[in-house]
Symmetry: D2
């Protein structure tokens, strides 16, 4: 069960479907890595199904898909191949809430996931008693005033016991120059701690993310099995842990959160063991 | 989203499939509640699919199913309708480990889940370096010497970084006279704490448990949707939280872990809100 | 060890020194409760020593003391009887840092505790590499831009491994109308979680707070023992837990965080048992 | 604030009092390190006060002191210079419980700390309702049946809400060949987790341990200040964190829990920064 160090090309050859994490694998916070659209096309031309499995709920899947464009051949990922944790939140809201107002912390673009569930989004800053919101959804770390709105949200939940959904389980996300940004999942942790509650949390490492993508894959290829799928990620705690638990093979890449210097220590310390390790998907 | 207090019979009428937790709903640690086999038959006679969704990995599903017997009509639950967290552990081992020795804490009967994955179980007490186990699985709180074997297991994982799988996420289980037993998931917590690792953990509230049962249901009834399913449980933190997150309707019963005196406080404190509350499934 | 319900007057009679928590006992976030300065004078006139033991590090002890004023007889608490958690932070900085810049999150008034240690405070917003700060101190939840400065502080500690001191261990503080404010200790929890570190944390329930006050008491009254001291607080988790562990008698009042409806449940749930319970110090 | 690598002899020269951790500094689980009694004598001959500050509550201070014997000059540490966390537990029991039965998990020798508080110890295995114990104290990991007695203790606290005291905050202790033993503090963590309570916990890193030793020092040398004291320990999380927070200088030795290979990583990861690092106290 110990990982072998190989080129991504060689590994990919053995799978019929590849799930990619986005940040640190395909892109950073500024742009898609050079060569990625070409690689995505090549994999698809070789008959492989590719999915992007991401905790990014800042925009709709179709807007997330727009990032991956080939200079000559245009968009290379279809919207339905982008599985964001926001989709699980959307389904939860659609099944469990059904109608009415839903409050949120995030940008306007992130409120897509509330609207897509047939519900009416209201930002926490504008929330009033008349809304009687059915749920509060944490979508993105931007688009609101942290001091005012986090305090308001905490007091709202204390008073009305409104269910809270975290649509992005990540604590942080990589920015440029080795900096990180506090993700909305981190803000959620603070709120959980203050309220002594555990919210409903969607996103990797929850295996449901991979189950969602796999169901979509099975829909088109009912003969595929877990053995046909490789998950590629840069983070042991989310990508590799979750895909290991779901039961598919995993490849750790060193182009994001986990560096070449630290990956062996990190694997040993965490006990989360990928099947493969590659420098990046481009080498 | 606030629960209404109703009779189980009335609620059940609106669903085509019912998932039951075992302990506190269908049985206690000593025996199946009186009237339960009759109710299970009646539901099936009325055309409903019933599943038992349990974190009990102390025996195989077929042995767990043997508990539910009607005095005249014999066994009332088929083995493939008992979804134990051990099955997810079994699939994980089958997909990720494939062959060799797997160490375990638990009774001999619980080792079934290792054998069912095509692997060779060895109890921690007999574990030697030559086994070079591919994983350690925590299956049951009985069948081993706590002091000797938990200490041995902790040191083994420290030295060899063996992956650890908890096949039963529960911290405790109800016994008679309002006593509890420390479940193997509680022992796992202690080991995680000492080793500063988070193990791979199977069982409710992980929505994968419900996904597993739902896939089985879909296999026979491809036209059923999440809306057709009701999960019935006695524990907010596992049964109701997990099924809420999976997106099916939920009924809390007050015949087990959650008492009539405390359920309102518990719902308010946890923020975990079932769709219905019933005294028991028999009233 | 179970609490008896009594009037504060009766209890106080048996002690030579009384330690009071501030928020919820003597005052709320807006003003000192009516009758409190009179009571403080009466206790002192009866020969009792009184101390205010508070996690409030938003201002210096002398400015905190200014809140307690009798209409006729003026200020009723001397500065050296106000023991704030900031004083422990001040001593820590004085002993362990000695000189140079110290960054902080909080208001300008809260930076008192850095200056009092003979060090130079710089707000996180103005922090530059040239400062090479010896420590970062979390002092107050106001006086800075949460989004910008918490993110900046997290990245600073990630990069430079600067020691972090939380000068107020509280997660939240009571505001009017049963609302709470997120305290700087709550912000510290978020930062600890993101950085996977445990910061140096001063304030109740740490028994050092009571030890600090007791040392001051012993200085003037070397013959007093722990048996002579009563701690009065409104919060089981901080006031009562800490004073119990320090070994002095404790009285819970129901005029703040803990309500008359919930105190029995809260004691049972937490296992933190005060020696006495009073409605307030004024009844 | 970054540690310099020096010989212990050189460092010790600058202090008038030295506090030593026991395990990993002066001894291992089998015996006192060769040369330690000689060093202790030499330090005392040079006019320095030495204390042993330990979380070991398995025996009384006088029995712990017996371990340090010079071949020619006999015992080298007086009983009152051994500060064990059990002493804080003893004082707590004496002040807060006063009389009656106190249940315990541990060996008979560890029950010393209950008797020294003037109370009557009863092992959990023999505990009956008639005892109506005032507290449960976790003293040592040996001397009881883990499965039977931990389960019994958990159910006892659930039913009677008996206050629980952990007299040794350590999660684990070093044994030979790089193995560890699960300490009673680890067992306490499991019980806290199951019962959703936080017990009263004595021992390093709680600064009260150092405060206790310092008070004893001040008794004989009222002119000494924190600046005169050096704490020497092998564990960042307990010895160094606690003494840093108490405000005395700290030296990390690499003869126990922290190895020469990992100490830099461990300091960076934890943010716990000793003033000095030495290979051992003997080099």
């Amino acid at each position: 069960m110990f990982p072998s160090f190989t080129s991504f090309e060689e590994i990919a050859d053995n799978y019929r479907a590849i799930f990619f994490d986005a940040f640190g694998v395909l892109k950073n916070s500024e742009r898609v890595f050079e060569g990625v659209p070409q690689l995505m096309l090549a994999l698809q031309d070789a008959g492989k199904e590719i999915f992007v499995v991401t905790n990014d709920s800042s925009k709709s899947p179709s807007r997330l898909a727009q990032a991956y464009v080939h200079p000559d051949r245009g968009p290379v990922v279809k919207s339905d191949r982008v599985i964001s944790s926001g989709l699980l939140a959307r389904d939860f809201l659609a099944h469990k809430v059904r109608k009415g107002w839903v409050a949120y912390l995030g940008t306007e673009a992130s409120a897509y996931y509330i609207e897509a569930a047939g519900l009416s989004p209201v930002p926490v800053s504008e929330l009033r008693e008349e809304h009687a919101p059915k749920a509060l959804v944490l979508l993105d770390d931007e688009g609101f005033d942290w001091f005012a709105d986090i305090n308001k949200a905490v007091n709202w939940v204390r008073r009305y016991n409104t269910p809270v959904v975290i649509a992005n389980a990540d604590l942080e996300y990589p920015k440029k120059d080795a900096e990180v940004g506090i993700a909305i999942g981190g803000v959620g942790k603070l709120m959980e701690h203050l309220l002594r509650k555990t919210f409903i949390r969607f996103g990797k490492p929850d295996p449901m993310m991979f189950s969602f993508a796999f169901r979509q894959l099975m829909h088109e290829h009912p003969d595929y099995s877990l053995r046909d799928v490789l998950m590629v990620g840069d983070t042991l705690e989310t990508d590799i842990r979750g895909a290991n638990a779901f039961g598919v093979d995993t490849a750790l890449v060193l182009s994001g959160n986990t560096s070449a210097e630290q990956f062996e220590v990190a694997i040993r310390a965490s006990g989360i063991i990928p099947d493969f390790v590659c420098e990046s998907i481009l080498t």
